[in-house]
Subunit: 306 residues, 2 copies
């Protein structure tokens, strides 16, 4: 089967590679998934991974076919480093910052969008999220406020239209995983983690984190102590740890949350948890469709290209 | 060589086993170390580990020889569980809470001191530190205030003479280790961690943690971002991570620190770091001799036995 498309939008993250063929009318003509994320590829393996994924795709216009890529493919350890834009910056500048890696397969003309860095205050970096933020701005041109992007490394970005003013990174998801797997807390987190006690543990942890984000180092140990003293089961402990970390993350960003709803960009499971915890402080989280957001961002970036 | 002693004081922790033979005049007649900590022993291996360590020790008085033990040997997964005293409590009650495990070698009569738990507010537990706190109270009978015990799981205890009013546990040392070893931060922490940049990284991290203990989840990521953006080397990054965690721990306990000096009980390396960070907020840390403290605690506990 041959697929005729105008250009290809690609989200190339650490774990996964996703591509969408965009028809001349702007609709999605085809979708491809691959597990060949940046983290699994050596530098020289990127071109073949792309050719393989798009082998049956044919340009509607003149070859080569444009392939616009966002995400970790542009990291130093990725395909070709795309230097960061520095925040504060207007995300309409992403296309101008794109780099063109060498592509032996002449049917495709890939370009990789830059990430965004921040050097004022504490150093910070993002790769991939900047394109999602541009997508959010494209879909909601009047939005101005804080955006929460839950994940392994959650991002909190202050956005004004297409301008990113400031952002931070919370290692929430990764801390959960390393503590669950490698710390003394693992003794209390072995067994059925999704049992009926999880919801109560989550609510208790979230309330604790929201009220005392400055006490995280101390509150973590309650996972172990509650198992020893109060016979808390693994489901409760897992819920507590998850709630405590998310509550602490949201609690530490409370000064950024106003009356306005907070757009959430991330997996639907995580967005549901963050919406719940935001609700505990009277705030409203609005989960976004991540695929729509990424596509809108890549389309917008392409529209800004010269 | 035969060693004649009145009784034996034992600190049986997770990683190590230490014993001191106490002469009839109260002086230390002999000292023994072993790597047979609680974490390496199955339940039934404790008696042989003790017999082996004390094989050449002979009671000065009538046999059997009293062996008074504090620490993790009394945990559920240790030799015999010694139920916790519940804080607030007077530590002069430790001896009355001791349990006597079965000992096939009839030359020795071991007793294990209890730990202390806390159920008001967040659940918490300690095993071993309570005996050190009793030792501090014995050596400084007029002390009243907060005591900091830096380590894998740092304890902060509010002590009034021999009474422990409240305590908390910060997982500072363990978080450092799991992040250094298992998180994305490990990429920035490989190489010479003790180079000349470590002191500057430590001071920067400590200041950040002291000023914003509520931002720990966000500030941790600066280790990675500083390596990527500001070419920070592994020594600086390791110092920053260590300083950030210790600064956050001390910052979150700032409300407990008054005009009075803070006794520090822990390794000399850690106590030096904590003294430095306490100095950054105008407080004074006073490192204690840990061996003296443990011995004073075991002696005091023995003196309170009926």
């Amino acid at each position: 089967m041959t697929n005729i498309v105008d250009w290809v939008a690609v989200d190339w993250g650490t774990s996964n590679l996703r591509a969408w063929g965009i028809a001349p009318d702007g609709s999605v003509a085809l979708e491809r998934h691959s597990a060949k994320g940046m983290g699994k590829l050596r530098h020289e393996e990127f071109p073949a991974a792309l050719s393989e994924l798009l082998d049956d795709v044919v340009a509607a216009g003149t070859v080569p076919l444009d392939v616009l890529i966002c995400g970790m493919a542009g990291a130093r350890q990725g395909w070709l480093e795309a230097p960061y834009l520095e925040a504060p910056t207007d995300l309409r500048g992403l296309a101008a910052g794109a780099v063109r890696p060498a592509m032996p397969d002449s049917r495709f003309a890939p370009a990789i969008l830059p990430g965004v860095c921040q050097k004022s205050g504490a150093d910070n970096v993002m790769r991939g999220e900047e394109t999602q933020l541009l997508g959010l701005a494209a879909l909601h041109p009047d939005f101005s406020g804080v955006v929460c992007m839950p994940g392994t490394h959650s991002k909190w970005a202050q956005l004004s239209g297409t301008r990113i003013d400031h952002f931070s990174t919370a290692m929430t998801g990764e801390i959960y995983e390393v503590l669950r797997t490698h710390s003394v807390l693992r003794h209390s987190l072995t067994g059925d983690l999704d049992g009926p006690g999880r919801a109560d543990g989550f609510a208790t942890g979230a309330r604790t984190g929201l009220d005392h984000p400055e006490q995280l180092l101390g509150n973590l140990f309650a996972v172990r102590a509650s198992a020893l003293l109060s016979d808390r089961q693994p489901d409760w402990c897992a819920g507590y740890l998850s709630g405590l970390l998310i509550g602490t993350e949201i609690g530490s960003n409370r000064h950024l949350i106003g009356e306005q709803a907070v757009p959430l960009i991330g997996s639907s499971e995580l967005c549901a948890l963050y919406t719940h915890v935001l609700g505990m402080i009277g705030a409203t989280g609005v989960p976004q469709d991540t695929t729509n957001i990424v596509l809108a961002g890549l389309k917008a970036a392409r529209s800004h290209a010269a």
